[in-house]
Symmetry: C2
């Protein structure tokens, strides 16, 4: 049975030492969150993840969700109780608006707790996750009445939520959607249509399920300009929030998926279901896209989460499993063989994962902090800069962290040899669960296109210029520092290659947009590698400062070793990406579609 | 439901035009196989794969194998009938020794037919595949009596076979195995022990199952020097081959695996089972390793096979699925959207896979031809050269083709977006099935270690020198040929980088073996990329010659386009591998084992 130990030491290092949250103690939301409180919350969250959610992860995979004949859905054993636990302990309201019953703590702290939940049990974490997404959409686009009515109940976990976008013939291209909304005399709408891939679509863990549904109002313009967003509750509710009769909402079937079996991914049917419009008619996508952009941070995190838990288990196995002898002489002379962690290729796989996980966590938390700054800073310049970073980096977090997170799970599974292929060892599940994160919330190719086609050039490329200047300043600041040299060299190299890639895109992407499209995923990875290099350089700086001040916690030495590994063995990937990018669209597009 | 169309056009191109099998018409085994006969066999094999095996692939995944209370195993619906079909049509004896009832056709032809079987239904293909492996071991190490007794029945498919190596505490490190063999007065042995991960271990598709079991004879030396190989039939047989009573052999359980559900992967228990020794006492591993080396070609092929079938389905989906518009203007103006194949990033994924599949097939068939030459050539020099290539390239075929084959399946699944994650579309199965090929028959890390630790330096590095000289000669021959320039440039670049990697290993691997271990997988991929570059250059030469001679089959133009893609967008990976290799063991080994 796989295990999980929340990496709270690493989280505290990032929050207190690298990002130095204490700098923001005067900001709303950070006021209440001093270091002691943050640490206490992290430790409580760790317990919940480790003790309650981890043991349910294999259970969820094995049992899956069952649609009963009456259309109800039974979630895996223990999920309901775990959800009760989550609700009763207030976890769902941690980092949301106190005006609607939230606790108003910083988003970055909510994210750290979310990381633990999702590492422990990704399929379970999606029930509160989707609820958070739906509540977010209401908070962005809803009226004050809607916010007052729905948000407190959703923040409390009394009601859960879902997002209904995809139909069988349209996922990425929402302009094609067909679900209909017919205006009623009382200002409501009757919604009819079928949605697929609806995570947490039906279950009995909450009193009501608030479905947010994209639909087309009768006679709306064709394409993306005629899409509206509706609140469609599973049960109709009166003004006091009491649920009563059903609302024509039903789960048609549960999708049989490669992974995240514990989440009820439903085909949802709406049959004259009463819905409330959110915001203006035909403006539903705007709300949805703001919400989705935030959700993409959560999905990027899922890639990291599975990579983390897979790594932890692979380390345990590599230290336990005795097989063969070290190339440099026995390391376990009294045993029948050495633990496989003595083998350089096993180390290589583990270090690949470790150096990514710690760098990726830093990148993710850094961006989560930008979200808080964008929300709470009184300084307009700070907010603008943070907003720029959020725009530019969100697709990178989503695409890069999930691509590499998945590949890491595969490598962690490889450490197990044949046992990795056997379900009871749990490594297959990490691989299968992680796989979805590359696909949903906008497939990674779409993220890359969003990055090179939209985000990169926004405001004249200001976001990239800002981060480049920040990196240059960091490198300049540390010039002549010998101990920092492996980090600043690696970072300068990565940043230089990224710059060449950016130049190439500027020179060639306008004349032929296919040049940008053909290199988009490579560019996304280049930006990811550069940002992780930057994070590693910053973490190394903090570690070196501690060591120089006499701190002998081996945690800091480990950081330097792991960061050097990243520079030596991950950064070189950027050269291959650059060469591919620079080869342009021609090789990619030369073969006629009908000759494939 | 996924489909499969055997790529017989590409196979014929390789056999007749690139490898020019007609050159060998005077050799045994090739004598009977003229072009017409080869083509006829390929077409028949294609029909069997497409019509019989392909429809059973999802069935096998969904039903899996069931162990009944009496210990018997029920294979998926249709498997038994398909196996009867295979047996009745003589497919299992195609390329084996006529002295024992085989048809004696070239191994390369058998491999091509095996590719179709395995692309159509990997789990099914393992039943005849393991039988072939077990028969191989008997043909290598068995006495004339054993060969005469077992081989005809196995070549006919009347009896099937298995390989029993792994025990729960030992896979790679067979020196640790515990299964016991106790000599009996009649010269036989009583075998007792438990084996795990036994593919095709128990089923009812054949009259008997011939288990080849590694065990330790009482009082044998410890470690790898005390391991012997035994024939242990499921049912005892009399001298006429009639099966009678059971032999203490039982399936304890069926492993619940990530993929290849249609194959019965068993825990096998041997309880005083009567066994016959193969070859000499304590020399079992030698036989096993010769057999396994050949089997590794088959496993490398499995990586290619899943990549091929996943590609074919992704192409169909990419041409069918309408979503979004081309960046350069609508390509399907009358439709609601363009097919997603218009998007450069979708093309990139498809071209990545295609250029690997065609190059990988050429590499695989080239090596299969070496096996035939090693076996049938009257020229000692030719045999020696072929044997060298087999030694050097087998781990590359196994490791590189399965690593990239798996990654390609993941990319093909990505083309499907959300539907790729839903089991009924079949893409998840290709990913899950392909995954095992990286693990079994020696995990890919072991292949890489075998390559850099043993095969590379064998006979003073003669094999690598020979292939390098062959590549140099090819490049020299084509100097000044403008049309060949993209290919010879790419090939020279790859070969140059490989040479730098080899030099680095020679200079640093001896002083510290961990340097070789840390770079072994990178080196394996470098050799794989170089060989595929060479294959592409050779295929381009053939295609150009045809085009220059006025042949207007677009097949040849497609080859040039696909080969150029490989040079532009796959070869650059070699730079990243080289940089990682050259970074050496230090970054990989610096972190103490207990600090992971």
């Amino acid at each position: 049975m796989p295990t999980y130990t929340a990496p709270t030491r690493d989280m505290k290092f990032l929050l207190h030492e690298v990002l130095e949250l204490s700098r923001f103690e005067t900001l709303d939301s950070f006021k209440e969150a001093d270091a002691d409180m943050i640490d206490a919350i992290l430790e409580e969250s760790a317990k919940f993840a480790q003790d309650v959610l981890t043991p349910l992860n294999r259970v969820g995979d094995e049992h899956g969700c069952v649609r009963n004949d009456d259309g109800s859905v039974t979630t895996p054993p223990g999920f309901h109780e775990a959800f009760d636990h989550m609700r009763e302990n207030g976890w769902m309201g941690l980092a949301v608006d106190p005006q609607y019953g939230g606790q108003g703590l910083p988003g970055i702290l909510g994210l750290a707790c979310g990381e633990m939940t999702s590492s422990a049990n990704m399929a379970f974490a999606m029930y509160p996750g989707l609820t958070g997404g739906a509540a977010k959409a209401i908070s962005i686009g809803g009226s004050e009445t809607q916010k007052n009515f729905y948000l407190p109940r959703m923040y409390a976990g009394e009601w859960t939520g879902t997002m209904n976008l995809t139909e069988s013939h349209c996922g990425t291209d929402l302009g094609l959607l067909k679900t209909k909304a017919i205006p009623q005399a009382d200002g409501s709408y009757k919604i009819t249509g079928q949605k697929i891939f609806i995570s947490a679509g039906e279950h009995g863990m909450s009193d009501n399920i608030i479905h947010l549904v994209l639909a087309r109002i009768e006679d709306a313009p064709a394409g993306v300009k005629g899409i509206s967003l509706f609140i469609v509750p599973k049960f109709k509710v009166d003004e006091n929030g009491s649920t009563s009769e059903t609302n024509g909402v039903s789960c048609g079937s549960i999708e049989k998926k490669m992974g995240i079996h514990g989440n009820s991914t439903c085909v949802m049917n709406y049959d004259d279901s009463v819905g409330e419009l959110i915001g203006d008619e035909n403006k539903g996508l705007r709300v949805m896209f703001v919400m989705m952009n935030e959700a993409r941070l959560g999905v990027g995190m899922q890639g990291l989460c599975q990579s983390e838990v897979a790594y932890q288990n692979a380390v345990i196995y590599a230290n336990d499993r005795l097989q063969g002898r070290s190339l440099t002489g026995p390391k376990n002379e009294n045993g029948p063989a050495d633990p496989i962690i003595v083998h350089p290729d096993v180390r290589r796989m583990l270090m690949d994962i470790r150096s990514f996980n710690e760098g990726g966590r830093a990148f993710l938390y850094w961006l989560a902090l930008q979200e808080d700054l964008e929300k709470y800073s009184p300084d307009e310049k700070v907010r603008e800069r943070a907003d720029d970073f959020l725009g530019l980096m969100t697709p990178v977090i989503k695409g890069y962290l999930t691509d590499i997170g998945f590949a890491n799970c595969v490598n962690a599974q490889q450490v197990y040899g044949g046992h990795g292929f056997i379900e009871e060892w749990g490594m297959s599940q990490f691989v299968r669960d992680a796989r979805i994160a590359q696909i949903y919330e906008g497939a990674n190719g779409i993220q890359a296109l969003d990055l090179v086609g939209r985000k990169l050039a926004r405001n004249g490329g200001r976001a990239l210029m800002n981060i480049s200047a920040e990196i240059d300043a960091f490198v300049a600041e540390n010039e002549g520092n010998e101990a920092m040299k492996p980090f600043t060299d690696g970072l300068s190299n990565a940043k230089g290659k990224l710059q060449m890639g950016t130049m190439w895109l500027m020179q060639n992407g306008m004349s032929n947009p296919d040049n940008a499209g053909a290199g988009s995923v490579d560019y996304m990875h280049m930006l990811g590698i550069t940002m992780l290099s930057y994070m590693w350089a910053r973490m190394a700086k903090v570690a070196l400062t501690k060591i120089e001040a006499g701190d002998d916690d081996p945690f800091y030495t480990d950081k330097l070793i792991t960061g050097k590994y990243f520079m030596a063995r991950i950064v070189p990937n950027i050269d291959a990406h650059l060469a591919k990018l620079q080869s342009g669209a021609e090789p990619v597009m030369a073969l006629a579609a009908d000759r494939f």
